[in-house]
Symmetry: C2
Subunit: 207 residues, 2 copies
DNA sequence: AAACTTAATGAACAGTGTTCAGTAATCCAA
DNA sequence: TTGGATTACTGAACACTGTTCATTAAGTTT
């Protein structure tokens, strides 16, 4: 049926339109001001229309999150050019932090905000969170190489991933949420301290 | 003037009443359901009344945050009983993580949520964030001892603090925000991995 | 052309933080 | 003790938010 096909295409086209407007809004005015009503106004549809394509706002944000992870994944592939696993690790660690600091609102969506994870909070097990898979597996792969080549202190792959991820996420999220104010430093000093902290950490996890 | 004094006392008493209701509400039903209206209903006053004692919700949350940090500070002092700085470091690191996992809503307020830090986002410099001072200085003190006694790898006190803090905050915040779902483990396994990660990290920062 | 199906919406609901005019209670001087 | 000033409090409103649903408009099928 050609008509059904066209309808299908139109449906996808509409979703794309919504996603595009949401992403632009996210990057331009931030998460807090990206409301269903604002998105609807941007694409010149009624707010109710959005609910014909997304069950609720969380579902929309979930899709948006997937796109954000796609962006991060691309960045990873771009930056991880080094030969040794340790070099690659350094490159993606720094890429991660840079991404977080440059696109704080996307970072929010991916790693901080409650929103698109609400269904997953009560581990019902039916469906897991798979948005971050790309990026996480990319990290795991490099770690595996590091362990295989006996360059990494860690024995357990997952513990290694958790350690590295927690460190960089800790740095980014404390910074974007202004908690580093407690250190009473100027902005430059803080950025410097973050860089040094990463370097020190990367030195420590080497054998 | 005795009357002015009494008025002052009554004003403070009212603030205390509001804070108590807010804290109870925070712990019982969480941040998301702690609205000005709900608090007002709990203390049997009009919502508008709260605005006679707090300029806005952020100011209220700021006070609440201060109380939360007081709680964490007490926990630190309680748990840091070890003799060596490294033992104390381990004790407060684990106390921090335990606090975060047991009281996720308070942890939110202290380290994750944007809310009470909004004024500080555009570093106007007029007033800094001093709620976390107690806890941060407690950490700095132990680190200083560790460096003095040449037990810690770090040279810079602040870098050390940032590294340790970022690690534990990373672990807690990724967990309370369900991002560890990406690892596809059961809850027990995750908690286990967190513990191991802390242990591994503490080993690494020792000389 | 009539009947059926689908897409879109206006209006409403329940919730949020916040403001402000107006009321009620208290205090102080005459 | 009474009248006027001060203070404490609140109801109602405003401008938002996400979400639902009956109704309208458009497109498709018979």
């Amino acid at each position: 049926m050609g008509i059904a096909d066209r309808k299908e295409r139109e449906k996808l086209e509409m979703k794309r339109l919504i996603m595009e407007a949401s992403m632009r809004m996210f990057l331009e005015v931030g998460y807090e001001k990206t409301s269903i009503r604002n998105i609807a106004e941007k694409i010149e549809y009624s707010p109710a229309t959005i609910y014909l394509y997304y069950k609720d706002k969380d579902e929309l944000l979930y899709d948006l999150q997937a796109q954000a992870f796609e962006q991060l994944f691309e960045t990873f592939k771009e930056k991880a050019t080094g030969r040794s696993p340790m070099k690659k690790l350094e490159q993606i660690a720094k890429a991660y932090v840079q991404f977080g600091l440059e696109k704080p609102d996307l970072y929010d969506l991916m790693f901080i905000i409650r929103s698109p994870m609400k269904k997953l909070e009560k581990e019902d097990g039916t469906d897991a969170w798979d948005n971050g898979d790309n990026c996480f597996n990319f990290l795991l792969d490099i770690i595996q190489q590091g362990i295989d080549q006996k360059l990494l202190r860690f024995k357990d792959k997952l513990v290694a991933a958790l350690s590295i991820w927690s460190m960089v996420h800790g740095l980014v999220s404390l910074h974007v949420r202004c908690r580093m104010k407690v250190m009473n430093m100027e902005e430059d000093g803080v950025i410097n301290a973050i860089d040094t902290t990463i370097d020190e950490y990367l030195k420590m996890i080497k054998i």
